[in-house]
Amino acid sequence: MQISRKMRLPDAKAYVAERLGVSAGELSDPLVMEEVRGSHGLGRVTTFETLYPTESSATEAKFSISRVLDLPINCVERFRERTGLG
């Protein structure tokens, strides 16, 4: 939100929290965000103990991030153009 919309941090946190259905404080809670990232398909931090081969990751996750945050993401738009997804 800062990079794309020049939002200052409190506004950026409030915006993202609202879109994700959490409080601004919960954005930095790793247990809460683990669930949120999973439920919204936003991508996960993977380790050898926590693997999610059937969940969104990388570009897939960025599609979800773009949709959930209503935020155009350059590489997502390029992907759409170049694959004809529209």
Partner: protein, 347 residues
Amino acid sequence: MPTMEKRIPTRFGDGSLGHLTTSEIRAELEAGTQAGSARAKVAPLTEDELEHLLDIFASPARFSAVDIGDEVVLTYDGSGSKTVGTRTQDLLIYEQMFGADSVELGHVDYSYKAVKTILAYEAQCMKDAQLVTTVPVMYGAMPNLGLYSEPDGPTPNWSSLLPQGRVEEARAAQEQAVELAVQDMVHVADALWEAGADGIDFDTAGAAGDGDFLATLRAVEQIRARHPQMGIQVGMAGEFVLGMHGELEYHGVRLAGLWPEAQMRLVSAAGASIFGPAVNVKTDRSGAWNVARALTIAKPCVANADIPVHMNVGMGVGGVPMNTYMALDAVSRASRACVDVLKVDGL
């Protein structure tokens, strides 16, 4: 009379570990803020702010951190520079293992003039990296105006002309270099945006003085006009824009002599998304002194910004010691101080 106060381990600006009493640390903080206030002609930190800094610096803990809920986001330089693995692997290490909020692809020859010559490779790497990363990936390099002067570039070398008193020739050389640098920076930005980059970072803007800063501002302006959605980050080289030319202006504002707040206003006016002030470290003073000075100088910039401010907190800036191996105790204290006192939008 020997003091009964306990001596607390604390870093100095060169990274060395010393021991100061609480009273001595308090005196360092006071001296640091007064030094910053006098130098940049800004208000010193308040008593409450100094007392909070004292809590941070008078602790013997190895690590210091912000309160839960006050976390900020981080932007980086050098997180995709082929340090451990390939550049893409390095980006993923930062994302997955270090928890980076954003990462930056860059080339080891970290200047826009240099990367212009290998632009297709950089664009391909960006495109490939975007397919496997989740966090925003910026592309970064330095304006590095000096590279446009002889022997590395086509313009006369103003650093050689100035000591000879050939001021007008030196100015003309810098003006010529500015035009060339703007072309290169815009050209690189175009290619990386086309490849899928989330944004571009102009690192160490102003390193070669007011000409370097002007080239950055003009490049930002053009890139913003060409790519309204592109993220644009400008990180300064130092606290003060050196007047190597002395008469360059942007929007009617002379660039020589600008401090962080004024720098930020021009960077924002040019169209940048994020501004990163830099305040230099004095290696012979304590970390406490340096942090107090840095916060004093940067405070009006953060308070009055209309774009996010990511304080440069790294080797030799933002209160972090000037040392290639940066001690965690020093970095964490400087970082926490920036968040707690300045309320920065990021680091």
